[in-house]
Symmetry: C2
Subunit: 156 residues, 2 copies
Amino acid sequence: MAATKDPRPCSIADALALVGEKYSLLVLREVCLGNGRFDQLVRNIGAPRDILAARLRRLVDAGILTKRVYSERPQRFEYRATQAGLELEPVLMTLKEWGDRHLRRGTGLPMVVEHSCGHALVPVVTCRACGDEVRHQDLTAHPQAPGWTLTGPTAA
Amino acid sequence: MAATKDPRPCSIADALALVGEKYSLLVLREVCLGNGRFDQLVRNIGAPRDILAARLRRLVDAGILTKRVYSERPQRFEYRATQAGLELEPVLMTLKEWGDRHLRRGTGLPMVVEHSCGHALVPVVTCRACGDEVRHQDLTAHPQAPGWTLTGPTAA
DNA sequence: GGGGAGGGTTTGATTTTCCAACCCTTCCGG
DNA sequence: CCGGAAGGGTTGGAAAATCAAACCCTCCCC
């Protein structure tokens, strides 16, 4: 689902071209939870079976999932996240946190993820260099490739 | 674009229902960069004008963007991120980082974001409680609402 | 040999997207 | 006063993606 003629070279656009189609990130959610079987995915995501099959093919081709046999005779499969797939989990957690805060004021969370430190996970995006939480006003964009023309206050 | 019958109550699914449609997150990318005018968005994202208009309406309705007049006579508009919109920027940065690492091995990045600490931003998702980087093996899911049946190794 | 689980594919109707063309207002130049 | 051009969309019809339900195949169990 690449933005058909995105004139900007952009890793965000490229990433979304792989995992931005409807259901793809929900597939990853389920697979990260260990629910990697076809009918589990159908039930838990609520996607049409044909679409789901297409997404799974795409994610496997992209190296985000692998298809494993968990039983010969009868032959049965399971999808699992590759390393690249697991590294998308922080994106999911960050999105979950946003949804928890903005879409469920007061409603109680449908799921809580516990971190190994013993606390409920509240993901925070920080800067690798200084450790500070990332906020918009601390960021400045520096285009490195043609196609980028900035005009706003974030421009460099 | 809600997963039409997602049986799971889930903040990830809900968030994607708002911003998961094609182009929506790219709109947010541009708006965060300060490129909030309709024809800038068309050019920079490469989306059809009608689709873009629909996305903008939706994002404004959802409280993620606002439509501001930046010139009366001739009347001209500009879209800006609300606080809720700005708080999605960490999601974009995390996704950008994933794309930079997995989709551009060796190709040189099309854009670098500088953090106010003086270094190029490399976003890291950490746990608010302990500060450690979030990794899959440190997470355990705890369903709080019906609809959640876990079977895998992540299950609680 | 009937039925169910698992993992899909096929078919046809319904929605979305896409693209090009068009519209409207206001400013500008001649 | 007339003809653009910029900005911000809307409209119409063709093309593509999605949806739901039905179907298929293999193997297992009774």
